[in-house]
Amino acid sequence: MSTLARFLPAGGPKPSAFAVRFALVAAALLLLAPAVLSDFRLSLLAKFLCFAIVALGIGLAWGQGGMLVLGQGLFFGLGGYCMGMHMKIVDAGPGNLPDILTYSGKYETLPSLWKPFTSAWFAVPMAILLPMAIAALLGAAVFRQRIRGAYFAILSQALAGAFVIVIVGNLSLTGGTNGLTNFQTFFGLNLSDPGDDRILYFVVAVVLLLAFVATRALVLGRYGRVLIAVRDDEDRVRFLGYDPTRIKLVAYVLAAGLAGLAGALFVPVVGIISPALLGIVPSIEMVIWVALGGRTALAWAAAGAVMVNWAKTSISEQFPSGWLYLQGLLFVVVILFLPKGIGGAVSDLRRVAARLPLLRGPRIAAAQVAAAAPKKVKEIA
């Protein structure tokens, strides 16, 4: 029975160790950051936390499920435009057209695409459900045909590219390359008021923490084990009686939902949603955050988004054109030397450290004392 008991705690770190770490991060985000950061920096951090929500989804789909999602900009953008349209309508006030729709002179009243977004009860769920629905349609078609690897990656990327073309091509309806901007309010918050921006920061931080806890629970469940099995040998999983299409679909759809949620929060935080934020290049950047942070651990994937974007901002402030080169260099270094990202390197270091006798000293000494004790008793006797 004692051997059985040894295996009773399910995989992963002990809950208590996790709870401590989670509490520390939550305290840093909810107490420390608002206390020490200026309004400007805090609002930047809110933006990065939005990106971290996208990264969580990529960590789930790519890190755990092996699906290289190179087109998350599509879902991020869908979420952003759903929220953006609603905010534009509210800002314009009842009966008035949002400024973006007046420029072309084509519309007297709200176009039918915009109309439903008048209601927050439609716009907010849509920001999450629409990306999920599109991911479900795409995923069902693609996974059933056993399209995977580079083919899947290219397909998902092409969709992000196509989405940008559609938005740019419908200038009068979408604002074209300028996107939607000039937002005044967000559910009663005044977006030009620093105090209200702080409230917005807390909203984003809490949403990220909740999304992380939910995604982590999914990954640690049986489903998460099966997802890893699908990632490592999809064909073998079929012979265990699971349909990999369904397993992959769930992770892919949830990743799309997280990206949509992030996009919806991004709009009030940053004040713009435009094609430049969600095309092919931004989509690849999203994957780079996760690759740098470490794709196999959700927390590191999310941390990657914050770290990379923080570095991008601070370095761009010093050397305006330096970041692109550094990002390229970083990516090469990580691929060559840290294939599992910073998170993977940290856990490798930990494993090495655990083997070092110096660090293990006290425990060994204690064990030796314990083992030697009976002998000594005998010797004395």
Partner: protein, 255 residues
């Protein structure tokens, strides 16, 4: 006894080459059948076509009254057929326990799959016990030896409690002691009511544990019978002796 598996006129063609060429095979409920034959006889292709790893070109495979040809792989497993592979394929990143646990959970509704595993279920513990991997339950499957991986695979299929178990060279690469244990395990599984089809090369193992043997040659059934009957059969001798590269196998079959 009733027929559990009925294969009629099965043809598996890879372009012009017919790996299985008009094969008929009937397995009774609770039977243990060994399939032997020279290299390239189509033994593994037979198992692959039952589980739809390769798609049959024509013919019919009836399992418990259901046609399997055209069914998806996971649907076939869900009708109650389990298989192992020649090259042991387990999930290296998961622990031994997790490997068996996800195999055991394949009939759970999706909502219960979302929950975390709490401890070890009785079936999983029993399957691990049967293959002597209880002590390794917490180890990563990737750290097991070749023979242990094969056993882990057997545990993964046992825990699913299939009605028909297809074993593809289960003792390849095992030590003598491990072989003996595997043979006893097969006998025990059969006694508990599972129908077992074993593809095997090791004639010593076949002689020891087989009652009824089917000999395949060039995609067809050459003969069926007890081990002694098959050994006396003239055509079987010719098939093995006619091919120099199988001379060693022939010596073993005829010994």
């Amino acid at each position: 006894m009733t027929a559990l598996l009925e294969i009629r006129d099965l043809v598996v063609a890879f372009d012009a080459f017919h790996a299985v060429d008009g094969l008929d095979l009937t397995l009774q409920e609770q039977e243990v059948r060994f399939v032997i034959g020279p290299n390239g006889a189509g033994k593994t292709t037979l198992i692959d076509s039952i589980t739809n790893l390769v798609r049959p070109t024509s013919g019919s495979i009836m399992f418990a009254g259901e046609e399997l040809v055209g069914c998806k792989e996971h649907a076939i497993v869900r009708t109650g057929i389990g298989r192992t592979f020649q090259k042991p394929s387990v999930f290296d990143e998961l622990t031994v326990l997790e490997n068996v646990d996800i195999a055991a959970s394949f009939r759970l509704p999706f909502r219960s799959l979302l929950r975390r595993r709490r401890g070890m279920s009785a079936e999983v513990a029993e399957a691990l016990e049967q293959v002597h991997l209880t002590a390794q339950a917490g180890d990563a499957a990737g750290s097991l030896s070749h023979g242990q991986k094969q056993w882990l695979e057997v545990a993964m299929v046992l825990v699913q409690k299939p009605r028909l178990l297809l074993l593809d060279e289960p003792v390849a690469g095992m030590t003598q002691k491990e072989r003996l244990h595997t043979g006893e395990l097969i006998t025990q599984i059969a006694q508990e009511g599972t129908t077992v089809l074993v593809v095997e090369h090791d004639m010593d193992f076949v002689r020891r544990f087989a009652h009824k043997v089917t000999v395949m040659h060039e995609g067809k059934i050459l003969t069926e019978g007890t081990v002694a009957e098959v050994q006396r059969n003239e055509t079987v001798r010719e098939v093995y002796l006619g091919r120099p590269r199988d001379a060693r196998g022939a010596a073993e079959v005829l010994a």
